[in-house]
């Protein structure tokens, strides 16, 4: 990704105070059905102005997640079934095993949405990362605040040529990671972010 593709900076004029003191103290304008006046989609996607610039993880991430889910579901179902079979009757064991497999299949249905929810955008001064279906999160991490960046890849991710990029700030709570990047892209993004971070670094 080149600089020119980066979505435009949405920062407003500097110095403008965030809270307008003249505004009414208790804004009542937001109807409970969640259709804010500025045309935000009713599903609650925050109006970040970068909707055009969102990058997505590789489509292979879904496959990686499916393999991981399968790797967990199989042994768990087997073990649960065996335990129930030994403790109660073989029928109960079979039922438990099948039930656990069914739970795994149901969880798989949600994987696609969760994977699709991941996105990141490189802006002029900061990186935005969004994720989550049930609980939606969107983080803004200024480049100057990044302490270090690491790229990790578990066995499943490695077999598909993927990697997870993780950014660390001095705050433990700011949790910014991008899973399922192609390995070359992850390396490029890491170098890019590191260079930007060095250029804009500020003290604590």
């Amino acid at each position: 990704m080149t600089r020119s593709e980066r979505p435009g900076d949405t920062t407003p004029a500097p110095g403008a105070p965030l809270a307008d003191p003249g505004a009414p103290a208790r804004p009542d304008g937001t109807p409970p059905d969640g259709t804010p006046p500025d045309g935000t989609p009713p599903d609650g996607t925050p109006p970040d102005g970068t909707s055009a610039g969102w990058q997505r993880p590789s489509p292979l991430l879904l496959r990686a997640r499916r393999i991981q889910a399968g790797l967990v579901t199989g042994p768990v179902a087997l073990l649960g079934g065996l335990l129930a079979g030994v403790a109660a009757s073989p029928a109960a064991g079979l039922g438990t095993g099948l039930g656990l497999v069914a739970a795994g299949v149901v969880a798989e249905r949600f994987l696609a949405r969760r994977v699709a929810a991941w996105g990141y955008a490189e802006r002029n001064d900061d990186l935005m990362v969004r994720r989550g279906v049930m609980i939606r999160r969107e983080s803004v991490i200024p480049y100057g605040r990044m302490q270090f960046i690491d790229v990790t890849a578990g066995p499943v991710e490695r077999s598909l040529g993927l990697a997870t990029l993780r950014m660390h700030t001095a705050a433990a709570a700011s949790d910014a990671r991008i899973p399922g990047l192609e390995r070359a892209e992850a390396g490029k993004l890491r170098d890019n972010l590191a260079a930007l971070g060095e250029a804009q670094a500020t003290g604590l």
Partner: protein
């Protein structure tokens, strides 16, 4: 206490005798005080002593062998301390404090003084009796353990602290120090145990900003969660013992009672006689009844300011003011402490807090923007206090119903901004924005705003924070 030479070569223009040997600028290696193994073992001695007593009274049969085991333990702890004293030495040279320690695993630690966040002098009870003090260096890293020199003679510890702090500072600030040193001394020194030390420690007297009132502190702890739990717990234990009328039941509850009393005592001990003094090198805090802690918060290191008003205290007009400072708190003897922030005002009136806040913050936005009505469905209780506010320097957010917490965060300290929306919030058209500052303790949460407003905050806050950083660096 051993008589020590009147110390303090810094600053030369101060109202103090300029005698005393200069602390080790001569780059030679120094040892800790020979009595430090005893201080180190002190806590274990107390624990083991208690254990011996309990065992002695609980079962008189096996006392002999138990006593031997305990004595062996004490001897081992002491021997370990002596060995560690023998192999530990320290040196100050070229703006670096070096500590070499370890018998089997030899460690050589280097602490560049320019990166020191704060230097504390801590005294445990036994150390106070022996006139010793422990020097602790706090570095900026999130998990590095920092340096410890345990123990030095108290006067030498204080002198070394001054010396190290002066080396950590820019050289140009000596003039400011001299100017402050001629300012009037600390008023209101009375019969409290802190004062004798205060006079010796604060070579450059500053302006006393706050001193906690002991009686109010006791009342406040009784009214706090710890106090209420302690009273309820002890009442329940007494009730159980009365109902059963069996000494065995009471004996089995005894450790619990001791624990509860210890928790209350610990709080009282750590907050007793807390004073805050403004000086050239920052805010000087000291507190403690048996264990003394002295600490200096250098200017510009405050990451967040939090005003805490529990329900019972609110009725009396009391509050607590805490600050978060980058770097780990390292009190090994009290783990729960590290989760808490540093209390500048353990308990004080609103006026005390107002004064302290105006000292800490240049401007002071009030949490004036209340939450939208739909937030009532999501947070029926906390809704009452949900609010936020900001100007071009700080963001303030308040929340909590039983215990109201108002947090100020300087925009230039914001590390990241997070927008969060749960399922219920989505249904109600709400979202929260969280501001993270360094460390793992404070997050200012602008809770339950309308989606449009939260989106606006998320869109504009990073820009404002970046402006604040630029301004901060230019200044």
């Amino acid at each position: 206490m051993t008589p020590l030479p009147p110390a303090g070569p810094l600053p030369p223009a101060g109202p103090l005798p300029p005698a005393g040997p200069l602390p080790p600028a001569d780059a030679s290696w120094h040892r800790l005080h020979p009595l430090s193994p005893l201080v180190r073992a002190g806590r274990h001695l107390v624990t083991i002593g208690t254990l011996v007593l309990v065992l002695f009274f609980a079962n008189r049969k096996g006392t002999g062998s138990d006593l031997v085991v305990n004595l062996v333990l004490v001897a081992l702890v002491l021997a370990g301390g002596v060995v560690s004293w023998l192999v530990t030495r320290w040196q100050v040279a070229d703006g670096v404090l070096r500590i070499e320690t370890g018998l089997v695993r030899r460690q050589s630690l280097r602490f560049p003084l320019s990166q020191v966040q704060a230097i504390d002098v801590v005294q445990t009870g036994l150390a106070r009796v022996l006139g010793l003090g422990e020097l602790r260096l706090r570095m900026a890293g999130a998990d590095s353990s920092g340096g410890r020199l345990a123990s030095l003679p108290l006067a030498e510890a204080e002198r070394l602290r001054q010396h190290l702090l002066s080396m950590a500072r820019a050289p140009g600030s000596l003039a400011t120090r001299a100017a402050v040193a001629t300012a009037p001394g600390i008023p209101g020194t009375g019969g409290e145990p802190a004062d004798g030390r205060e006079a010796r420690d604060s070579r450059e007297p500053g302006r006393l900003l706050f001193r906690v009132r002991s009686r109010r502190l006791a009342a406040a702890i009784a009214l706090s969660r710890t106090g209420v739990i302690a009273v309820a717990g002890i009442a329940a234990m007494v009730a159980v013992a009365m109902l059963n009328r069996q000494p065995g039941v009471f004996a089995s509850l005894l450790p619990l009672a001791v624990g509860v009393v210890l928790a209350v005592w610990r709080q009282f001990n750590s907050d007793y006689g807390a004073t805050v003094v403004v000086a050239a090198d920052g805010l000087r805090l000291r507190s403690g009844l048996v264990q003394m802690t002295a600490e200096t918060i250098r200017p510009g290191r405050v990451q967040a300011v939090r005003l805490v008003e529990p329900l019972a205290w609110r009725a009396l007009g009391w509050c607590r003011l805490e600050v978060d400072v980058a770097g780990p708190r390292q009190r090994r003897e009290n783990r729960s402490e590290s989760r808490r922030l540093r209390a500048l005002i353990p308990v004080g009136s609103r006026a005390d807090a107002e004064q302290m806040i105006s000292e800490l913050l240049t401007t002071r936005p009030a949490p004036s923007r209340l939450a939208p009505r739909s937030a009532r469905w999501k947070a029926p209780l906390t809704y009452h206090f949900l609010a936020w506010g900001s100007d071009d320097r700080y963001v303030v957010a308040s929340r909590g119903r039983v215990c109201r917490k108002t947090t100020w965060v300087p925009l230039e300290k914001v590390q990241s901004v997070r927008w969060v929306q749960g399922p219920l919030q989505r249904r109600l058209g709400l979202a929260s924005v969280r501001l993270d500052v360094a460390g793992r303790r404070v997050t200012a949460s602008i809770q339950d705003r309308g989606t449009a407003e939260a989106g606006e905050i998320l869109r504009r806050l990073p820009g404002l924070a970046s402006d604040a950083r630029t301004r901060h660096q230019a200044a």
